[in-house]
């Protein structure tokens, strides 16, 4: 048998020696990187002069943790992954993967028992453990719930995979109902259910869905037409300010201004499209970025109209087509119409369904457009512009329609955002937002609607979860604010996910045109975002 050189076998062969060496390197580099930034802190004293505060202990902890992490990864992580690869190759079609070993019936039962014990004995346990340990107990409970849910998902994975869209839409449609029901049961009354659902529906539901919609809109420009747009947030801003200004000054309804905002954003999309028609790749990227910045700077400086950085407040709420209002003082306020208790949760739940509807509209339009001539022209343009031209496709209109359509959905999302917040300011439309939206599109696997939705859920939901980790205060002391680390972790997560899955969560494509049967194509065969 021929001896083949394989990197996997090398990694398995001598891990300890390598691990020690690598850990020492990593420690030296970490020491060099962090000696000034973690070892010392610049603080202002009373007379506003900068002084240095020394934190050598923290530096030592960070360096040792880096070394330990690197050691464990090289000594155990890498060989494990390599063995897995070898085993997968050896066992052929049905490898005993990590997942089947991780999700097992006994573990699942143990998780269920843990959850049950912790939920039913919550009261006495809190008294017994004191506030410090109770925090850990709550964390353990959350972990067990997540594990149990993941096991269920894993068990039904083939079923879920087969009916993913239908199941996903049903779950999204039922989400507020389930949240209210669970919290009502937990809290003992319907009012408590509505009150408690505010956070879940608003922070998790609406927040994630706004990003899903934005990412799906940007997906038309980047994923389908292959035009790299770094200034997408500009259209979001146009939509938001269109609703904010026209709504507050002329008192027009959301339902009139929603299409108007979309049209205005589309108009700006075409306006941006004209100068960049000839540009490719990175030139296109920088001009779109510049465009986004120009819009933001104009919003800040055109004080007579936009009220500058102070922003516009008092933006009217959305009504249910004028029939039912969500203002307590109105005669047709929802609680008066249905004769129920007053609660601010109704409006949030209504907004949730509104953004869900807008998202589904975006998805529907995207799916239909891909089968229409213009959508096919976009995808052809992404693959090869020269071939496109020689086949008689008008690249000018193709690019402009892509910009306009993408911008229109950005405008819709923007006017929804303004209605939801009741306040807009240029602060919300910084480059970081564009970067986050683009990251979601790429992490999801460009062009794949499901992948993008999953990426939005992971990235936005993940950062929202960090706000909830109060138990960490027990570990690191009361001064510790997990929120501070939100964006740091977000940036690192972007890097790690990209390294782990460079093609995004869903790397394969469903072709829209095929000869005999539709077969998913690996994303590696498609070109994206090259200009």
């Amino acid at each position: 048998m021929a001896v083949t050189a394989s990197p996997e076998r090398d990694i398995v062969a001598t891990p300890m020696q390598r691990a020690t060496r690598e850990a020492l390197y990593a420690g030296a580099i970490a020491l060099g990187l962090f000696v000034l930034f973690i070892g010392l802190k610049t603080n202002q004293n009373i007379s506003n002069e900068l002084i240095l505060e020394q934190r050598w202990g923290l530096l030592a902890i960070v360096v040792v943790l880096t070394m330990a992490g690197r050691f464990l990864y090289v000594a155990y992580g890498q060989p494990f992954l390599a063995n897995q690869k070898i085993a997968d190759v050896a066992t052929g079609l049905l490898p005993e993967s990590v997942a089947t070993r991780f999700f097992r019936l006994p573990y699942f039962l143990a998780a269920i028992v843990t959850v049950a014990v912790l939920v039913f004995l919550a009261g006495p346990l809190d008294g017994l453990l004191g506030p410090g340990l109770a925090g850990y107990a709550r964390f353990l409970r959350a972990l067990a719930i997540i594990y149990a849910l993941a096991s269920v998902l894993f068990y039904f994975r083939t079923f879920i995979h087969a009916h993913f869209s239908a199941l996903g839409i049903t779950a999204l449609a039922l989400y507020p109902v389930i949240v209210v029901l669970v919290l009502a049961l937990y809290g003992g009354s319907v009012a408590a259910g509505f009150q408690g659902s505010l956070k879940w529906v608003d922070n998790f539901g609406i927040q994630i869905l706004i990003y899903v919609m934005l990412a799906w809109g940007l997906n038309i420009v980047v994923g389908l037409a292959g035009l790299l747009d770094l200034g997408y947030v500009a259209f979001y801003a146009v939509g938001a300010y269109a609703y904010a200004l026209l709504g507050t000054h002329y008192g027009l309804s959301f339902w009139i201004l929603l299409p108007a905002a979309g049209a205005m954003a589309a108009f700006w999309g075409v306006l941006l499209g004209f100068p960049v028609l000839r540009l490719r790749g990175d030139y296109l990227a920088i001009v779109t970025l510049a465009f986004g910045e120009i819009i933001r700077l104009v919003l800040i400086n055109w004080r007579e109209v936009t009220n500058g950085s102070a922003g516009i407040s008092g933006i009217p709420k959305v009504t249910f087509f004028g029939l039912i209002s969500f203002n307590v003082s109105d005669p047709n306020y929802i609680a008066k119409v249905f004769d129920i208790a007053t609660s601010s949760a109704y409006y949030k739940i209504f907004l949730y369904y509104l953004i869900l509807g807008l998202c589904l509209l975006t998805a529907f339009v995207t799916i239909r457009l891909r089968r229409m001539p213009v959508g096919r022209a976009w995808e052809a343009l992404r693959e090869d512009e020269i071939a496109c031209r020689s086949l008689g496709i008008n690249t000018t209109t193709t690019k402009l329609t892509a910009f306009a359509t993408g911008a229109m959905f950005g405008g819709f999302a923007g006017s929804f955002f303004a209605a939801r917040q009741g306040f807009v300011s240029p602060e919300s439309f910084i480059f970081l937002e564009s970067a986050i939206i683009l990251a979601i599109v790429v992490l999801g696997g460009m062009g794949s609607l499901v992948g993008i939705a999953v990426a939005a859920m992971v990235m936005i939901g993940g950062t929202e979860v960090l706000r909830e980790l109060d138990f960490l205060k027990q570990v690191f002391g009361p001064d510790f604010t997990p929120e501070l680390y939100r964006m740091l972790l977000f940036g690192m997560a972007m890097v790690i996910v990209m390294l782990w899955k460079p093609r995004g969560f869903v790397g394969s494509r469903e072709p829209t045109a095929f000869l005999k049967e539709s077969r998913a194509v690996s994303g590696a065969f498609t070109k994206e975002g090259h200009g």
């Binding site: 580099i29 060099g32 990187l33 000034l36 930034f37 010392l40 802190k41 610049t42 603080n43 202002q44 506003n48 002069e49 900068l50 002084i51 240095l52 980047v222 100068p275 000839r278 540009l279 490719r280 790749g281 990175d282 030139y283 920088i286 001009v287 510049a290 465009f291 910045e293 120009i294 700077l297 104009v298 800040i300 400086n301 020269i386 480059f431 970081l432 970067a435 683009l438 990251a439 790429v442 992490l443 460009m446 501070l484 680390y485 964006m487 740091l488 977000f490 940036g491 690192m492 972007m494 890097v495 990209m498 390294l499 460079p502 093609r503 590696a524 070109k527 994206e528 975002g529 090259h530």
Partner: protein
């Protein structure tokens, strides 16, 4: 006329800083064809390193000649910032080399977010003011030129000369230019491509660190979010000059500096960035690959 010359000098100072940062963008783009979005934050790291070294020097020595202090700040900042860029390249960009084009762009944006927030978490979110290091101002025929501005322009000229020598006359520069033209062929001819790319990142970071030190000296204040605006403007400068071209980066930097100072002097200071970005768009309409950039020839 005096006012005009005054603005010209201000623009030259600003342009020098932008030019130094822009070189880092353009070099990395030339050699591996990626936009290093984290470069603006590398510049900010350089400014912060200079700030911390300044405070250490202030605490250790009662009085130190300004020249020596500036030199020490610059050298430490260069070393430290190079180390950051080297690590980032190794961790976040190298594994994705040869992957599809947007993957390293996304890791670069992620790194940029992570770096600025790292500094925010470790050093605090507030403005960091330092006492003025150099305050002398010369008055020549009614035009005031501060010593700070002279230092910035001189340092920039010296560095650019050094850099020009490095790229054009040494074997390292030859290797870099070879990798730029054809990485595979360069590798076949015995050039260590990985090492050359690492050195490119180190050189870019060193220039950004100098720019950061000069920025700190000129404005006397730095915040964790300072990387973004100069970074974007330097990137604009690199594109304006023609990305991939080194003289183009310096030229673009100077142009952006001039546009900014002239616009704030004669029109409105609020819209100076809008002017810079608009001129970029206009220039690119007529010269789609920048002023000194080579037009991409597409082969079918």
């Amino acid at each position: 006329m005096q006012y005009f010359v005054q603005q010209l000098i201000n623009g030259l100072t600003l342009g020098s800083i932008y030019g130094l940062i822009a070189i880092g963008y353009t070099m990395v783009y030339g050699i591996i064809g990626m936009i290093n979005f984290a470069h603006g934050d590398i510049f900010m790291i350089g400014a912060f390193a200079a700030l911390i070294v300044f405070l250490i020097l202030g605490a250790l020595f009662y009085s130190l000649p300004v020249v020596i202090a500036l030199l020490v700040m610059m050298i430490v900042a260069m070393l430290l910032t190079s180390m950051y860029n080297w690590t980032i390249e190794k961790v976040a960009y190298r594994p994705l080399r040869g992957s599809f084009r947007l993957a390293p762009l996304i890791t670069a944006i992620g790194m940029s977010i992570a770096l600025s927030n790292f500094v925010q978490v470790t050093q605090g979110p507030r403005n960091k003011p330092v006492p003025p290091m150099v305050s002398k101002v010369y008055n020549i025929a009614g035009i005031s030129v501060s010593l700070k501005q002279i230092i910035i322009v001189l340092v920039t000229i010296v560095l650019l000369a050094l850099f020009w020598y490095l790229v054009n006359k040494t074997s390292l520069g030859r290797a870099q230019r070879a990798c730029e033209q054809d990485r595979k062929m360069a590798a076949l001819l015995g050039i260590d491509v990985d090492r050359t790319i690492s050195i490119t990142f180190i050189m870019g970071a060193a220039l950004a660190a100098v720019a950061g030190t000069l920025f700190l000296m000129y404005y006397g204040v730095v915040v964790f979010s300072d990387g973004f605006t100069p970074g974007v403007k330097a990137f604009t400068a690199a594109v304006l000059g023609g990305i991939g071209s080194l003289p183009g980066a310096v030229l673009g930097g100077l142009m952006i500096g001039f546009i900014e100072s002239m616009w704030s002097a004669y029109f409105s200071i609020d819209y100076k960035d809008v002017a810079a970005f608009s001129i970029l768009a206009i220039v690119l309409i007529f010269l789609p690959s920048g002023i000194l950039g080579r037009p991409e020839v597409e082969k079918v």
